[in-house]
Amino acid sequence: MSVASSRWATPVTPGAARVRTVGWWGMMLGIVAMVKFHITVGAAYLYVRWGHTEWPPAGFERPGLTPLLILVLPIAALALLSWARAGAREGSAGRLLPAVTGAAAIGLVAVVLRSLTYVNAPFGWDEHAYASLFWLLGGYEIIILTVGVLFAAVVVVQVLLGVVNDRDYDVLEVTTVYWWFAVITSAISLTTLYLGALL
């Protein structure tokens, strides 16, 4: 999110074209708040977990590691968005539509697959604190990914309408920054829920 990508900011010196917009600062601080929320839920998971000698508790199946593979999808979506952004920075608008559409579609597949792991979970959220934390951490991740898909979908529409192009693409920059956060959230949630259960 540099000044050069924004229609709302004009650099006062040539060097200022590369600096961050105020919107970037706002987005980063919003992400900090969401990360703190995530850390609190993660800390709650660990606090409850260390109160038990057996984890997952007796009667709960240890989850397999297959859902970890889903992480590839948000990473792929992020890669496509970064590729589109790099194209815009180089003055090429040709990548915008296919790359952002692809990112939205892949993101949607990630949301569906993550949701399926919950629909098929062998326990309900009200059976044990372990199950509650499992659902909350994963549910938060799914919400974050869903918002990312919405962001990408809005960019697709804006590209089609011509309001996002190789000169004005700050909304794409916002979306890419957001997807970095989504990927990291996804990685932490999946690691905590699936690898953490092995500890």
Partner: protein, 638 residues
């Protein structure tokens, strides 16, 4: 650009003030009023709304004092008393103290740093609407007879589904969460404002102390409020869908709530205190016409308090059966925070020491802060000691202690701020004699109310009891406390009368009635929509004491765009984070109803959750998504 920006060299071009006025004017009609996003409109709304909540919370306090005035009184029953102390605490903590300080920061920090508006005005407006709807959501519980009644701290298991089966705590959890989101939004705004919108030359070392406290407080909010949101979400899920985060029968842990709540709750005290420190420093500097003695050390102390405050939360849980080593650590950390606090108090005293200052009303209230807060701080050190804490835990001593901290440390500075800045905000002059009467009545009334609480605590009177038997001997001190409460209320009432009289008389206050040194006094009272026609330049922490006209006059091309922008385009200047060197001219959004609509639809979704209506909740969420898309849709290119 050099570190000393050019000033006072008159350029040929002058700002087109008529055009600036048109560009920054609000849209006509009710929708225009509702759609205002300018920092002055939003800040004023925060201050007025929070003060109304303060009056409501104060009335609840009086009701409680009437009930406790004599033994075995029948004025309030136990249920009503529980609801009164819960709502009193919740209103004062969530709806008054933090929001009014945020409102003051939103109104005055842009002026102090020489900016035209907040960097993201629509987000700023959303913060206000979220606060208003969250507050109304909480208070609307009274309309359906489901007032929260389990304390402002909402301890589980008392607030869990088993022991609070009604909607009472749902109102609390959803309303408070909404208000916390508002606080986070305001914090983001203030951080970006201070990081990027300072006037040329205003390096961090030249930033006003109040702006420093606003920055540190906002960073603290960013790290302290999300945990409460997370804790509240978990508790609401326990209540609504039967999750088991806090249910020990299903592997949960009720102490988890206390950890999460106090991880928020203790920094919250300093989130309220630090802006108070900034206000008192401002009042002292203005009255003495001197920079704060040890200014750099005072700023370092503010930062240190902000960091240390996150390491104290367990001292609220000493009676919860935690390991001794852990409690020792938190006792030590609690003692440690007295060091930077002491530095600040000595800095204030040293600045006043040479004398020769004017007793402005703001200085009077600030001295009230010093006296009362020091007493509250001393009892704070006492309760941070585990053996003492165990003796007075859950007694009236603790009530006395935290009212000395919070009223001394927060309410007195807020009144100092109102006396200091209301002439700028309104343009009216206020009666000095009424301000002095108001101060002394409040000061005396406060001490008569709360000093006896310490003694009552030593005598064994527990907190949160709606009455007590006569033979315990607590009656006389309670009666004295009740009389004091009404004297305090009279002091507050005099302040309201003072504002009303000033509004009727409308005697002009002048642009700089106190001879202040910071930039808010460089513009008119009240300030115009655009704040400054020409951006100010700063060479010290008190630019108005250096020169009467701090206008930045470099003749660089961007300055024309800043002073004479296209018709109806609002522009601001972003500068570098450390040295405040001009970097980019930014177009700022003006009128927008999206923030209002988004906040409204969030409230609709929360209402659906409250009444277990999936349909209303889903419709609310969909409307939120639509509002968000509308908000983010690119506007007309300037």
């Amino acid at each position: 650009m050099s570190e000393v920006p050019p000033q006072g060299v008159v350029r040929d071009e002058t700002p087109d003030q008529d055009m600036l006025t048109r560009s920054w004017a609000r849209h006509p009609g009710v929708l225009g009023w509702l759609g205002q996003c300018n920092h002055k409109a939003v800040g004023k709304r925060f201050v007025v709304t929070a003060f109304v909540f303060f009056l409501i919370g104060g009335i609840l306090a009086l009701l409680m004092r009437v009930q406790l005035g004599v033994p075995e009184a029948g004025f309030l029953g136990p249920e009503a008393y529980n609801a009164a102390f819960t709502m009193h605490g919740s209103i004062m903590m969530f709806l008054f103290a933090v929001p009014i300080l945020e409102g003051l920061a939103i109104y005055f920090v842009p002026l102090m740093v020489g900016a035209r508006d907040m960097p993201m005005p629509r987000l700023n407006a959303f913060g206000y609407w979220a606060y208003l709807f969250g507050g109304l959501f909480l208070l609307s519980s009274a309309l359906v007879g489901a007032v929260p009644d389990r304390g402002w701290f909402a301890y589980v298991p008392l607030t869990g589904p088993e022991f609070s089966p009604g909607d009472n705590m749902d109102f609390w959890l959803l309303g408070v969460t909404f208000v916390e989101i508002s606080g986070i939004v305001a914090a983001i705004e203030i951080i970006v404002l201070i990081a990027r919108f300072r006037a040329p030359g205003m390096s961090l070392s030249r930033m006003p102390i109040f702006a420093w406290t606003a920055l540190v407080t906002s960073l603290m909010i960013l790290f302290a409020f999300p945990p409460l949101v997370a804790g509240s979400v978990m508790l609401e899920l326990d209540r609504k869908i039967g999750t088991a985060f806090y249910d020990p029968a299903l592997g949960g842990n009720p102490l988890l709530w206390q950890h999460v709540f106090w991880y928020f709750g203790h920094p919250e005290v300093y989130i309220q205190l630090l802006p108070g420190v900034g206000i008192v420093a401002t009042a002292i500097e203005t009255a003495t016409k001197r920079s704060l003695v040890g200014r750099t050390l005072a700023i370092a102390s503010i930062v240190a308090i902000g960091i240390l405050s996150f390491g104290l939360w367990v001292h609220h849980m000493f009676a919860a059966g935690l390991p001794t080593l852990g409690m020792s650590f938190f006792t030590a950390a609690s003692f440690m925070i007295t060091v930077p606090t002491g530095v600040l108090i000595f800095s204030f005293i040293a600045t006043l020491w040479p004398g020769g200052f004017r007793w402005t009303p703001a200085l009077l209230w600030s001295m009230g802060f010093v006296v009362i807060f020091v007493l509250g701080g001393i009892t704070g050190v006492m309760v941070a000691s585990v053996p003492f804490n165990w003796q007075i835990h859950d007694t009236f001593f603790v009530v006395g202690h935290f009212h000395y901290v919070l009223i001394g440390g927060v309410v007195f500075p807020i009144f100092a701020a109102l006396h200091h800045w209301l002439p700028k905000l309104t343009g009216w002059a206020f009666s000095r004699s009424l301000a002095v009467w108001s101060f002394w009545l409040t000061f005396i009334g406060f001490n008569v109310t709360f000093f006896p609480h310490h003694q009552l605590g030593f005598m064994g009177m527990p907190r949160r009891v709606y009455t007590y038997p006569e033979q315990f001997g607590w009656g006389p001190l309670n009666l004295l406390s009740t009389v004091g409460a009404f004297v305090t209320a009279l002091g507050v009432l005099l302040f309201v009368v003072s504002v009303a009289m000033a509004a009727v008389r409308r005697e002009p206050a002048g642009d700089d009635p106190w001879g202040g040194g910071t930039l808010e006094w460089a513009t008119t009272s009240p300030p115009p929509g655009y704040n400054f026609a020409t951006i100010p330049a700063v060479r010290s922490a008190t630019p108005l004491w250096d020169t009467a006209d701090p206008s930045y006059r470099s003749g660089e091309p961007w300055q024309d765009e800043y002073e004479n922008p296209d018709e109806l385009v609002r522009v601001g200047l972003a500068t570098t984070g450390l040295d405040a060197i001009p970097e980019q001219v930014v177009v700022l959004p003006g009128h927008s109803l999206w923030p209002l609509l988004l906040a409204l639809f969030i409230a609709v979704a929360l209402f659906g959750l409250l009444i277990d209506s999936g349909l209303i909740m889903v419709l609310g969420v969909l409307a939120c998504v639509a509002s968000g898309i509308g908000w983010l849709w690119p506007g007309r290119k300037p």
